[in-house]
Symmetry: C2
Subunit: 361 residues, 2 copies
Amino acid sequence: MGHEITLSIDAMGGDNAPASVINGIAALARVDPDIRFLLHGRAEEIEPHFTKRTRVLEGRYEIRHTDDVIEMDAKPAVAVRRGRASSLWRALESVRDGEASAMVSAGNTGAMMAMALFCLRRANGVDRPAIAALWPTRGQREHCIVLDMGADVRADAADLAKYAVMGTEYARIALGADRPRVAVLNVGVEETKGRPEVKEAAEILREMAKRDDSGFEFTGFIEANAIPTGAADVIVTDGFTGNVALKSAEGIAQFISGHLRGAFEHDWTSRLAALFAIGSLRRLKRRIDPRRVNGGVFLGLDGLAVKSHGSADATGFSAAVELAATMSRADVINRIAGQLEFSLDSIKAASDSPAPAEDDQ
Amino acid sequence: MGHEITLSIDAMGGDNAPASVINGIAALARVDPDIRFLLHGRAEEIEPHFTKRTRVLEGRYEIRHTDDVIEMDAKPAVAVRRGRASSLWRALESVRDGEASAMVSAGNTGAMMAMALFCLRRANGVDRPAIAALWPTRGQREHCIVLDMGADVRADAADLAKYAVMGTEYARIALGADRPRVAVLNVGVEETKGRPEVKEAAEILREMAKRDDSGFEFTGFIEANAIPTGAADVIVTDGFTGNVALKSAEGIAQFISGHLRGAFEHDWTSRLAALFAIGSLRRLKRRIDPRRVNGGVFLGLDGLAVKSHGSADATGFSAAVELAATMSRADVINRIAGQLEFSLDSIKAASDSPAPAEDDQ
């Protein structure tokens, strides 16, 4: 599979923890013999989940007991101040202290980001770390990467340019894109549209992409309806907009699937149709099942942290841990650090140059 | 149907104009005998579309010839400077001059908003007009209203509060909601989350809603995935975020429907399933068909303008014109002016009070 790694796991985070956590890592351990796990949390709640079914984990895990758990609705600032004995903080500490090469949690996102900022610290040159997510596309690559999905509610032009650099490294690893196509999310594709920071970010990236060694192609602005077309591999936006875009897509997908179910229960022909359609709908579900693509990667920190969806089951949690393993083996943190070092000067030079003309919409 | 009204129509705007325009107004004229139409555009291109099928329009329309047409990709600022002889501008003029009580165009959105600002002027107390759209929901009311969908790329707290006031009047008319439930779009429902302007807007609206005569209920923050649940009737956000949310939902809906088609063509059982499922899928399509709910209403102007989707066919255009007729007969512009007059003092008082604490995420 790959070289041996140790992953640090918050065994208490998420709606279905610790069952989903233990069964999730067991599922991954079955296909990947080279991962060890540090499990942080309440030993008495974790241990009963080790059964015959999880025998594959024998000798490959260690439980680090701690009583404290960060609740899903805890305020980030409070969690940072008072949560240093929690499973979430301890899981991050294992990465900071070099015991593990990445951590995974399905817990409270805000608390996790706030704690990660304190515990792992920002990468050199980064003001705002970002959460990067995979977005399904009809394109050849099946996914693209969108960031920031909500680490911060704001991003200026230089932040957006750094998101592009970080997202590009992610895309090389996760999508196998040699020269990722980068785009800036906007409300139109014309150069005159959008907010000033978005237009300025496009200017910076256009300049950067001119260099042969930039490692990416800049395709300009993209509108949100074009994300699933696969027209770009890396799409940058501020965390407020990114979070709204993701949740809006989620909401409408649920709306449609609810109506689909209703449509197939309408009368006897539709119930018959449903029988025949089961295979087709399963294929579709498998293709866009959020459990199979789970994990927001925190980029711009001096250590690797992956956030699983809070409602993930074992399959979903397993996907997030697999993502952490892949990114860790590819050494994403150091690769990003290298790329940032290489790019910071040009980002700075470009952001200091005169801003583009004001919106003439 | 209602009292007699005259609507001003940009006969040249949109991908399928003027055919979609003439057939669209004919479809509405058939069920609503009390509308007259002023059609602005190239007479020689419009006239051939009056055939036996549109006989219902006889004696109920007038063509106002003009050669100039605003292209779909024209820049708004350029359109305003040089487009005063265009069908779009002339259609707006008919409203300004009191010849028509509303106008409809499927043309260039940016140009239409820029021209509407110049031609119709802002309503008293409004800094940023907004585009309001109907969003499908699973709720009892089938739709909610979201604004701004992209009139402006920014909105401060007072703008958002005014959007709530305008959207509330729209909801009373279009949804039949006596006391609409208003929410502010945010990245979480906790009070500490989000951008300062969003938190401040929530404070203002919470204060306003305390008055018995406010006419609305304030439900706090809403996340984008909850829009289709029908948890709120009026959802306010800045035009950048609103536009991204709408397009993101559109994009994923197209993605799913593309995959559904693929799933039903996979093998012979799925093709058989498709045969049986035709009725069910048609019902679903009818329920969420964007053609049946078409029309962005420009609110905050001293005159009524409705934007149809640029790719609307006759059915879609007809829906936009029907919306204009409904809003016009309900006197939405004067009702909004009255509500704004009533609310401006409390919005101002609330926005001048100390801002809520900074983001502690």
